[in-house]
């Protein structure tokens, strides 16, 4: 009995020490502060707990075991609290988000500083090395486009239509890719803009995972290699189509490039553009996706550049729909539409979606006023309830060729929430073109 306990204690000691050492390795090697914290909090506490229990067992006295159990309990209770406080502080202090950049769920919820209070010189020099000349001008342009829009539109100069000078067409493949490519070329022809066909969006650069084919990382690497090959295939087809369509037009400034940037570099690449055009239904990994998971949705969420999501490309837009929900970003939709200069002749209808709060109707009337001042024909439609009839709504939406929205979906993650009908998603699935300013 005594030997069995000693063997158990020895195993706990060595095992706990190994887990702690691995978590220390994780703190050093993981890419951004938040994943490092995850290594320190979970694996660190697990390892230290095992080791303390082992030490208590090795002594064998009641007092020692009690002390060890007390210490473990204390660690298990406090570690989540401490890492939650640290994570919040790190977010507010502006620590780099790493790959979570493109789906930052806390944007607009917590204030966030632009730079950490301790920006290290090493991080700076690495990022400037990666930027090319174009990206530097892009980075210079980004602060202006990231400024919040004036919701009431008092700043009249900011509302002058500014036709897009540089249009980015993301080539990701899928059913709507041809329509999106045509849209990009049409808009460029109308405005005399430069078109960049960018394939490879959503691909992360390949990371080195070690020399040995052992463990889960090897198989996850194998799977990412497979999906990478499929995405590249889609990209290549889309790029070929882009070039064949572009060859038919002359006098256009057309660039085609293939980049597989990191999320941060990709955002900087986007910031220099005036409009990003994406096909509808294209997910981040080259697979068809729900509206909430689309590349277009995450780009619009990042608020770097206005996004035009194309399902079909109507040659002539008869009517534009403004979908106003209750989020603050919806108050700037009219301003975004005016500034984009798109569909200047089409009459505008405003559809308030009163899902949770009655603020949407007031916001809709405010924007109708703003649009009237700029000489557009405006009608405010009756508000859409939370439990609207899908068929009726689709009949109503069929009149419109283009919609302006702040987001593609109002779903939160949750099991019951997926049963709810979402007005934003209905619009995104029915109206051919969606502008997310």
């Amino acid at each position: 009995m005594r030997t069995a306990i000693e063997i158990l204690a020895a195993l706990l000691l060595v095992g706990g020490a190994s887990v702690v050492a691995l978590s220390a390795l994780g703190v050093a090697r993981l890419p951004d502060p938040f994943s490092r914290m995850h290594a320190a909090a979970k694996a660190g506490v697990a390892g230290a707990g095992l080791l303390l229990l082992g030490a208590g067992l090795a002594f064998g006295t009641t007092g020692a075991i009690l002390t060890a159990v007390l210490a473990v309990t204390f660690l298990v209770i406090t570690a989540p609290l401490a890492s939650h406080a640290l994570g919040r502080a790190a977010y507010v202090a502006g620590a780099p988000l790493g790959s979570a950049q493109m789906s930052n769920a806390l944007a607009g919820v917590l204030d966030r500083r632009a730079f950490d209070i301790d920006p290290a010189p090493s991080a700076r020099s690495r990022s400037t090395k990666r930027l090319s000349r174009d990206d530097e001008s892009a980075a210079a342009a980004s602060p202006a486009s990231q400024q919040p829009l004036d919701p009431a539109g008092h700043d009249a100069a900011a509302l002058d239509p500014a036709p897009a000078r540089r249009i980015l067409c993301c080539l990701v493949g899928g059913e709507s890719q041809r329509a999106a490519t045509e849209a990009a070329l049409d808009l460029a022809r109308a405005a005399g803009a430069q078109v960049t066909g960018l394939s490879g969006a959503g691909l992360e650069p390949r990371v080195w995972r070690g020399p040995l084919p052992i463990g889960g990382s090897f198989w996850s690497d194998w799977m990412t290699t497979r999906s990478r090959a499929r995405i590249r295939q889609n990209c290549a087809e889309a790029l070929e189509e882009f070039q064949s369509l572009a060859a038919g037009t002359s006098g256009l400034d057309i660039v085609a490039r293939h980049e597989e940037p990191e999320a941060a570099a990709f955002a900087q690449l986007l910031a220099g553009q005036d409009l990003a055009i994406l096909p509808a239904g294209a997910g981040p990994h080259g697979m068809p996706a729900e509206p909430a998971m689309e590349l277009a949705a995450s780009l619009a969420h990042a608020r770097v550049v206005p996004v035009l999501r194309v399902r079909q490309w109507p040659r002539h837009v008869r009517a534009v729909l403004l979908v106003v929900g209750d989020s603050p970003a919806c108050g700037a939709l009219a301003a975004g539409l005016l500034r984009s200069g798109l569909w200047a002749a089409a009459p505008v209808s405003i559809l308030p979606v009163a899902e949770e709060s009655p603020g949407a109707v007031a916001m809709a009337n405010e924007q109708a006023e703003l649009l009237r001042r700029h000489g557009r024909g405006v009608a405010v439609l009756p508000a859409l309830d939370a439990d609207f009839d899908m068929a009726v709504a689709q009949r109503l939406l069929a009149r419109f060729d283009a919609a302006v929205m702040a987001r593609l979906s109002s779903r939160h993650a949750g099991m019951l929430d997926s049963l709810r009908i979402c007005a934003f998603e209905t619009v995104a699935d029915t109206v051919p073109v969606t502008l997310l300013p």
Partner: protein, 98 residues
């Protein structure tokens, strides 16, 4: 204290000491202050481990209480650092009016 436990404790100390190095590197290298705070937190955990192993190797149970103490102080330190980071990055408060 038999040979097996002593041997296991020595091995565990060696492994934990190996873990100190990457954490120390992260503490020095940063790059953000959040990274440094996380590394400090992790150093506290490693300190808990080392105190427990010291208790075994030296044979004094009292070192286990030190492990408990380090765990306590480490939590307070993490929360205090978090408050500091958040305060330092918040906009400066407006001057109080007379």
């Amino acid at each position: 204290m038999t040979g097996l436990i002593a041997w296991a404790a020595t091995l565990a100390v060696a492994i934990v000491a190996l873990g100190l190095m990457p954490v120390a590197w992260r503490l020095v290298a940063g790059p953000s202050s959040a990274d440094r705070v996380i590394a400090t937190d992790m150093l506290g955990l490693l300190g808990v481990c080392i105190a427990a192993l010291t208790a075994l190797i030296s044979g004094h149970v009292a070192f286990l209480d030190i492990a408990l103490g380090i765990a306590l102080v480490g939590f307070l330190a993490a929360v205090a650092f978090a408050r500091l980071l958040e305060r330092a990055s918040a906009a400066p408060a407006p001057e109080p009016k007379e």
